[in-house]
């Protein structure tokens, strides 16, 4: 009974002894951290310029130019901001795919198949590009 009490008291004191040095470690390390944090904070701040944001007219102009260079367009005078690829410009679905791919390249984005299938007119393409933050 007496012996077990001694063992218990030893056990209880042992972890306390182990905890003590680590506590002093923490105290010692905190001033160092305080010294370093200001410089780390100032390093991690970066300044970004505001996003350029393409205007509707600019996008439209670039797409119209791209269509003018496309050899399959039947009547170049019909290219406007609202022309429909197949109804106004006489392009078939394969040509439309080519136009959409050219638009991808022009604005350095990748248009997934599902969205690309929906783009049938200059107007739709402008709308899509405007909604893309990565387009430039």
């Amino acid at each position: 009974m007496f012996r077990s009490a001694i063992v218990r008291s030893l056990r209880a004191s042992a972890p306390r002894a182990a905890v003590k040095p680590s506590a002093s470690f923490q105290i010692r390390s905190s001033p160092i951290a305080a010294q370093f944090t200001p410089s780390l904070v100032s390093q991690s701040i970066r300044f970004y310029s505001a996003p350029a944001g393409l205007s509707k007219d600019e996008i439209e102009g670039r797409i119209v130019n791209l269509l003018k260079n496309f050899d399959k367009v039947s009547d170049a005078s019909k290219i406007t901001g609202v022309s429909h690829f197949s109804n106004d410009l006489g392009l078939d679905s394969l040509d439309t795919v080519e136009v959409v791919m050219a638009i991808e390249e022009e604005f350095s984005i990748e248009i997934p198949d599902k969205e690309a299938d929906q783009i049938h007119s200059v107007e739709k393409a402008v709308e899509y590009i405007q909604a893309q933050p990565d387009a430039h």
């Binding site: 690829f85 197949s86 078939d92 679905s93 394969l94 439309t96 795919v97 080519e98 791919m101 390249e105 198949d113 690309a116 299938d117 049938h120």
Partner: protein, 78 residues
């Protein structure tokens, strides 16, 4: 444009894949690859859109051809 059938969308998707592969080729031969892909698709323009077995066959053939030409060893095409 009228709503496209699933098969028609597959064809367009294959064409898109082909055009994407073209961009990985050397710049001076890219136009050759593009013209080739275009010609291959134009060749079968007259296939009736109801002729499913023919279209499916051509799709499979096209996919095999794409895989073959996509190999980086092939740098140019006539």
């Amino acid at each position: 444009m009228a709503r496209l059938s699933g098969l028609q969308r597959d064809v367009l998707s294959l064409y898109r894949q082909c055009l994407r592969e073209v961009r990985k080729k050397p710049i001076d031969s890219q136009s050759n690859f593009k013209n080739y892909a275009r010609a291959e698709f134009q060749k079968h323009r007259s296939v009736n859109k109801k002729d499913f077995s023919a279209i499916e066959y051509l799709l499979r053939k096209g996919q095999r051809q794409l895989e073959m030409y996509a190999s980086p060893g092939i740098r140019n095409i006539r």
